[in-house]
Amino acid sequence: MLPLELYQGVEPAWCPGCGNFGMLKAFKQALAELEIKPQQLLVVSGIGQSGKFPHYLQCNTFNGIHGRTLPVATGAKLANPELVVVAAAGDGDCYGEGGNHLLAAWRRNPDITLSVHNNQVYALTKGQASPTTDEGHQTLLQPEGVYTPPLFALALAVAQGCAWVARGFAGDVAHLTRLYKEALTFKGFAMLEVLQPCVTFNRVNTFQWYRQRVYRLEEAPDYRPEDELWAYGKAKEWGERIPLGVIYRRPRPTLEEVHPGLAAGPPLKRFVERPMDQLLADFS
C-alpha cells in the first residue's frame, strides 16, 4: 500500500458535507491500496463540481469541457494503454451533454473507468433538473416539478452489454473503495455510478434518504452479476430499495486489444517508418 499523502491535492472548493468528499476519500484509498502511482494515472474530467475532482488529487489531469470526458479519455488510452485512465463526470455531463459518447464507450469497451458523480441535480448552475432527477422534483427552473421520467443509465448500460456496471454510494466509503478497486483493475470499460448527495441544491435525495433505501447487492442470496436479465432488473430497481454493488460483469476484448492500429504495439512506443517512395508507390 502506498501512503495516502501521495495523492494529496489542493483544498477542495466543494460545499462542506458534499457527497464528493466521500468519493475522493474512497478513490484515494483505492489508489493507495492498488499502489497506482500518480504518474501512472490520468484523470479526465469535464465541467460541473465533478470536473474539479482531479485538481484535488495528485495525478495527470485533463480537465476538458462539458460532456466530453469519454472521447478524450478513450483517445488518451489508445495513445498510451499503459496509463490508468479514469473519466470523472457528473450526471449532467455524462448522461445529458455527452450521452452519445456514453453509447459509444459501451460499444468500444476501452479499458478505462468511468466514475459518474450522480447527485440528481445540476448543482454548479444552482439546482436545475438533471437527467436523473426524479419525477415531480421541484427546482428553480421546474417550479411545478419535473415532468419527465429519469434516465436509467445503468439499465441502458446492461442492455448494451457494457462490460462492467456498478453503483456505489458516497455515504458508504468502505464499500465504494472496494468498487473503485474492482473498477480500476477490471479489464474493459467499467462504469461506476456513485450516488453523491448535493447538500445545497437537492433537499430530497439526501444522505438520509439514500441510507434508508440502499442495500448491498453482493449480500443478496440470488446475486448473479453475470446474468444479463437479472442485472437488467437490478439496474432498474429504484425507489423504495436501491441496490449498490456490481450489477453486471461480462468481460470481453478491449478496444486496445481489437484495434488494428495497435496490433503492432502502442504507437507511442513503436513508430512505424513511412518511406516516401513506399507512400507514393500507389500513385504511379
Binding site: 490520468l42 485538481h55 489531469t61 469541457i65 483517445g75 459509444a104 488494428p260 513508430f271 507512400l279
Partner: protein
C-alpha cells in the same frame, strides 16, 4: 501541334463513371500525357447525373478548362447536357443501348453491349470499359497498359467480370482504331521516370503519414471523407490508430486525448461537422494541445450543396471559437502543396502547441493532378518539440515564457505530472479565478503568434513581377487563376499572379511586397462576398479593385476568370 484534349465521361451514379476514370487517366499518363481530372457528382448512390472531366496535354496542367473534345456518354442525359460544350471537331462515344440516336450534326462512335461482349447478357455493365478502350484507339495509344489497370480495378469483382471488361476494352479499341480523329498521341513517349497521378485529399493523407501521424479520428462527411478513407486503408500498415467517431464532437475530443497523451493527431470534417467541433477547438487552444484539423469546406449554409465546392468558410475557420486564441490556417492549391503543408502543419502544431487547419474543399479534394516525383520531398522532417531531460522542481505545463511556448511533457512518460485545464489556469495547470493570472496566461498564449508568423509566407507568384494587373487568389483556386494569368501573358496582356497558401497568421509583409506596384488588383474567390479580400484589407489596408466571384458550387475555370476580367473592363 500542342495537345490539349478534354474528355468528359458522364452517366448516372452506378454506371461506372468513376470506375473507369482512374484507369483511363493512368493509362494516358503512363503513355506520356499530362493528365488532370475533376469529378462532379451529386449526393446520391444511384441515378442522377455525374461526370468526370479528364484533361490531357503535353505540358503540365493544374486546372480543368471548359469545352469537350471527347464526350463519353453512358446515358442519354449526358449527351443532352454536355452537347453545347462539344468542340467543332468533337466526337461522342456512346452506349447504343442507352442513346438511341445522336442529334444530327454530331460525330459519334456507338458502342453496343452486343458488339462489345457477344453472347453475354450482362454486356451493358462493360460499356464503360469499352469506351475506355475506344479512347485509346482513337488517340493511337497502346492498349496493354489499360488492360493491366482494368485488371487491378475489377479484380475484387472476380475473374468473370475482369474478363468482360478486358474483352469490352479490346473490342472498343479495335472499333475506334479504324476511325480517324484530329488528335493522335502516337508520337508521345513515356516519361523517363514514372509520374504520379494523385488527388488533393490523397496527397493530404500521404502528407500526414509522412509527417508521422499516429492518430486519426473523424466522422464521415463529404468532401473530408477522402482523407479519412485514405488513412484508414493504410492504418494497419503504418501503425496508425484510425477511429471512426460517433460524431464530430467526439472526433476532435478523441484526437485531443491522443495528442495530449503524446501522439501526432489529426481530425477533420466539412461544413456543419466543423460547427460541432468549434467548442473543442477552443479546448485545443486553451489546453495548448497540438492538433491538425482538415477542414474541407463545401457550399453552405447548413447542409448546402454536399458534393460541390466553395471557398466560403475562410471567415468561419479564422474566427471559430470564443475569444482570442492563436491558430494557423493553411490552404493548399495543388496536391503537392497539400502534401507539403500537411507535413508543415504537424510541425507547427507541435512547436507552437495549437490547432493548425488545412483548409481545403471539394475542388482540391477530388482534383487529380499529374505530378513528378520531384514535386514531393525526399523525406519529411519531424519536429515534435517535446521537452527532454530531467525537469527542475515542480513541472509547470503552462510555464510563462518570453515566446509563449511552455516546455511540453507527456503524461506517464516521466516523473512529472501533466495537468491541463479548459478553465483559465495557473502555470501548473490548475484552475484559477485569479484575474491577474488570467491576464498573464491570455497574453502568453497570444504571444505564440509572434513566432508563428515568422514561419509563414507561402506565396506562389507567376508572370512579370512588375505587371500592373495583379490577380490574387488562395487555396484551391491556384490552378485556374494561374492558367488565366498565363493566357493573359500569352495574349500580350502583362499580368501577375499572387496565390496565398498560408493564410493565418497573415503573412502581411510578404503579401504587401508581392502586391507592390500593382495598378489593378483583382481578387478571385469561390464565394459570394470576397472573404479573402476582407482579410487583405484588414491586414494590409489594400483591397481589390475588382472581385471575380463564383458560388454556383463548381470550381473556377481559366475561361471564367478571363470572362470576369472582361465584364469589369
Amino acid at each position: 501541334m500542342a495537345v490539349d484534349l478534354n474528355i468528359l465521361i458522364g452517366g448516372a451514379a452506378g454506371q461506372g463513371v468513376h470506375a473507369i476514370t482512374l484507369p483511363l487517366a493512368k493509362a494516358l499518363m503512363r503513355h506520356g500525357g499530362q493528365v488532370h481530372f475533376i469529378q462532379a457528382y451529386e449526393s446520391r448512390i444511384r441515378g442522377g447525373h455525374l461526370y468526370n472531366v479528364v484533361r490531357l496535354a503535353d505540358r503540365p496542367l493544374a486546372s480543368s478548362r471548359e469545352g469537350v473534345d471527347l464526350l463519353i456518354a453512358l446515358n442519354a442525359e449526358t449527351v443532352a447536357r454536355h452537347r453545347p460544350e462539344l468542340s467543332s471537331q468533337g466526337l461522342v462515344i456512346y452506349d447504343t443501348s442507352e442513346v438511341q440516336e445522336l442529334p444530327p450534326g454530331l460525330a459519334g462512335l456507338g458502342l453496343s453491349p452486343g458488339d462489345l461482349l457477344p453472347g453475354v447478357k450482362a454486356g451493358d455493365i462493360a460499356v464503360n470499359a469499352g469506351a475506355c478502350g475506344a479512347v485509346l484507339g482513337l488517340l493511337r495509344v497502346p492498349l496493354k497498359p489499360l488492360l493491366e489497370l482494368l485488371k487491378e480495378t475489377f479484380a475484387a469483382k472476380g475473374a468473370e467480370v475482369v474478363g468482360w471488361n478486358l474483352t469490352a476494352a479490346t473490342r472498343g479499341y479495335e472499333l475506334a482504331a479504324a476511325r480517324e480523329f484530329a488528335v493522335s498521341l502516337a508520337g508521345m513517349t513515356p516519361p523517363p521516370s514514372p509520374r504520379l497521378l494523385i488527388s488533393g485529399h490523397e496527397a493530404v493523407a500521404l502528407g500526414a503519414l509522412a509527417a508521422g501521424v499516429q492518430f486519426v479520428s473523424g466522422y464521415p462527411m463529404t468532401p473530408w471523407t477522402g482523407v479519412l478513407n485514405a488513412l484508414g486503408q493504410r492504418a494497419r500498415q503504418y501503425g496508425v490508430v484510425v477511429e471512426q467517431a460517433e460524431d464530430e464532437i467526439a472526433a476532435i475530443n478523441l484526437a485531443l486525448g491522443a495528442s495530449f497523451a503524446g501522439l501526432r493527431a489529426l481530425t477533420g470534417t466539412s461544413g456543419g461537422g466543423f460547427c460541432l467541433m468549434t467548442e473543442a477547438l477552443g479546448l485545443a487552444a486553451m489546453t495548448e494541445t497540438p492538433l491538425v484539423i482538415v477542414m474541407a469546406s463545401r457550399p453552405g449554409p447548413s447542409t448546402g450543396l454536399p458534393t460541390r465546392t466553395a471557398q466560403g468558410d475562410l471567415g468561419f475557420v479564422l474566427n471559430a471559437g470564443q475569444d482570442d486564441f492563436p491558430r494557423a490556417v493553411l490552404a493548399p492549391g495543388t496536391p503537392a502543396q497539400g502534401f507539403a503543408l500537411t507535413a508543415k502543419a504537424f510541425n507547427l502544431a507541435d512547436r507552437y502547441q495549437l490547432p493548425v487547419f488545412l483548409l481545403t474543399d471539394q475542388a482540391l479534394a477530388d482534383s487529380t493532378f499529374t505530378h513528378s516525383r520531384e514535386d514531393f520531398p525526399k523525406a519529411v522532417s519531424m519536429d515534435r518539440a517535446l521537452a527532454t531531460g530531467p525537469g527542475k522542481g515542480t513541472y509547470e505545463r503552462y510555464a510563462l515564457t518570453p515566446n509563449g511556448i511552455s516546455p511540453r511533457r507527456l503524461p506517464g512518460m516521466g516523473p512529472e505530472l501533466v495537468v491541463a485545464d479548459s478553465d483559465e489556469h495557473t502555470p501548473d495547470g490548475h484552475l484559477t479565478e485569479d484575474l491577474a493570472v488570467r491576464v498573464l496566461m491570455h497574453e502568453k498564449r497570444l504571444r505564440k503568434l509572434q513566432g508563428l508568423v515568422q514561419e509563414l509566407g507561402g506565396l506562389t507568384t507567376a508572370g512579370p513581377p512588375d505587371a500592373p494587373l495583379c490577380l490574387v487568389c488562395w487555396g484551391s483556386s491556384l490552378g485556374p487563376v494561374a492558367e488565366a494569368v498565363a493566357r493573359l501573358n500569352e495574349s500580350r496582356t502583362p499580368a501577375r499572379l499572387v496565390h496565398l497558401s498560408e493564410l493565418w497568421p497573415f503573412p502581411r509583409e510578404a503579401v504587401k511586397g508581392a502586391l507592390q506596384g500593382a495598378k489593378k488588383l483583382v481578387m478571385a474567390e469561390v464565394n459570394a462576398t470576397g472573404q479573402m479580400n476582407r482579410l487583405l484589407r484588414q491586414e494590409t489596408g489594400l483591397a481589390a479593385d475588382h472581385l471575380v466571384l463564383k458560388y454556383d458550387g463548381l470550381p473556377f475555370t481559366p475561361e471564367y476568370i478571363l470572362r470576369g476580367l472582361k465584364e469589369e473592363a
